[in-house]
Amino acid sequence: MHDPSESATARPDDPTAVERAVAAVWRIDSARIIATLTRVTGDFSLAEDLAQDALLEALRQWPETGVPRSPAAWLTTVAKRRAIDAWRHRERHDDRLAQLALEIERSSDAAADAPPWDPDEIDDDVLRLMFIACHPVLSREARISLTLRVVGGLSSEEIGRAFLVPTATVQQRIVRAKKTLAGAGVRFEVPPREELTGRLGSVLGVLYLIFNEGHTASGGERWMRPELAVEAIRLARVLSALLPREPETHGLLALMEFTAARFPARVDAQGEPVLLADQDRRRWDHGRIRRGHEALTRADSTGRGRGVYGVQAAIAQCHAVAESLETTDWGRIVELYEALSGLAPSPVVELNRAAAVAMASGPAAALELLDEIAASGRLRRYHLLPATRGELLRQLGREAEAREEFTAAAALATNDRERERLEEKASG
């Protein structure tokens, strides 16, 4: 029988297959390897360097030797040896060094299949790693880059490509982030109870930023980068498995699943965006919708109420279960936006509430809400405010005003495709 893993198991004559296998192993194991190394060295920055060294060593050796039976154990042992070498050079003959040497010896005696980490600690260690990567002392960009690299196992090249920045920029961000963390004396820990909600908020925020960059790219030619959104979903699944009693970990996951369910219908055959109203709902991914329901149910079963992600997930759920725009429960959506306004007041939420009001009670009522937002001067630079006003004015037959709004919206849009779409609307 044909072995489907053949192309990924190393063949000495095919270095690119090995490179791909190394990258795949790294995606699977990097978080646990770096978390383990941070635990044993007590130094996140050093652990990350050691892990990267081990990765390079794998790229050198695996084309000759093949992918080892337990790649994670191989990589971890190489990294630990490097740590010992580094400390010897610095003449740091401390207890930690002896401990590491002992661990290497033990791991070579242990069964080949034994994982190179402590099974009772590894989950918490991965969680600690996520909290470090998303630490509030870091800039938004640094948190995103560090999370994708150390938790997601992406290379700097892949992160650069996903965010349309040069690889060197990503590398600089990571180097600087590690210095900032060291400078601030950030510890490898799950935050204490009283800080947990705030710190978890930062982790969830980073995952949602990554998702949104894939969901509606903020710049560039492509409307969506779904691979980035799918990686954000994977990381949200990791987090919700590690912190099952936190409702918002499930709420965020549910929101992402419901939103991503629409991806197959969001772009037409020409690569043009298709808005919710025009989407062929038969193309929605029903597996994702089901997983969204499950995640939201888990959020509710914690008995701690819905947070901002849970409420947004519930809104996305209303769309997911509706057969058409017309049969959507807009009254319920308006209520949910009101709840969201209470949890996290923002003009963007108000804007969305107005759009729901338009569907529930007609364009005139919604326009009143939007006029309030516009008069307040908030969202002056947000293209969706004039875009939404344009839609409502057009529905009310106020065509000249509608065109003005679409023109203004097009001038504010940063995504090329979205701008084109708005320009089309402005011209009729």
């Binding site: 029988m1 072995d3 489907p4 893993s5 192309s7 990924a8 198991t9 791909r20 296998a21 990258a23 795949a24 192993v25 995606r27 699977i28 992918v67 790649p71 989950d123 991965v126 691979e227 799918v230 990686e231 979903i233 994977r234 990381l235 949200a236 699944r237 990791v238 498995a241 590690l242 197959p264 219908a265 037409d268 055959a269 298709v274 109203a277 025009d278 062929d280 193309r283 929605w284 991914d285 597996g287 997983r291 057009r394 529905q395 037959g397």
Partner: protein
């Protein structure tokens, strides 16, 4: 992308596995499933009951014919599956390699088709154009 890891075992392997303590098999499988769940890749997975409980529906004649299992000539029995969501074919292969299966077992790894595999056809585009028109008219009126 999604892949299905399809477990196939020979009769001999199945017989041999029955000599390994059940607890041990369950534990190894449990750990494997948990590792995929905690890595955020596992979407679904099921094991199948003994083939003797199953049956075969044969479409080779005009009328579909139902016959009792086990499957006469099949050498490798379909024994269970996982569906995982990963970033590449190689990642699927690396997960497959880690399955706690013994000699005589095989994993067939197949990509699961998604909506993107079925591009909007002409009929669909026409239909959509019709909707757009209808919606435009509705909002004008």
């Amino acid at each position: 992308m999604k892949y299905m890891l399809i477990m196939r075992v020979t009769d001999e392997a199945l017989a041999a596995s029955q000599e390994i303590p059940f607890e041990q098999v369950i534990e190894a499988m449990g750990q494997y499933n948990e590792s995929m769940m905690k890595a955020g890749v596992l979407l679904a997975g099921e094991g199948l009951a003994d083939a003797s409980e199953g049956f075969v529906v044969d479409f080779s004649s005009e009328e579909a014919l139902v016959t009792d299992g086990p499957y006469g000539e099949t050498k490798e029995l379909f024994n269970g599956f996982w569906i995982i969501e990963v970033s590449s074919r190689e990642e699927a292969a690396q997960w497959a390699r880690r399955a706690p299966l013994g000699t005589g077992s095989f994993l067939e790894v197949r990509r699961v088709t998604e909506a993107e595999d079925f591009p909007a056809d002409n009929e669909w585009i026409e239909k959509e154009a019709g909707w757009r028109e209808e919606l435009a008219q509705r909002s004008q009126g």
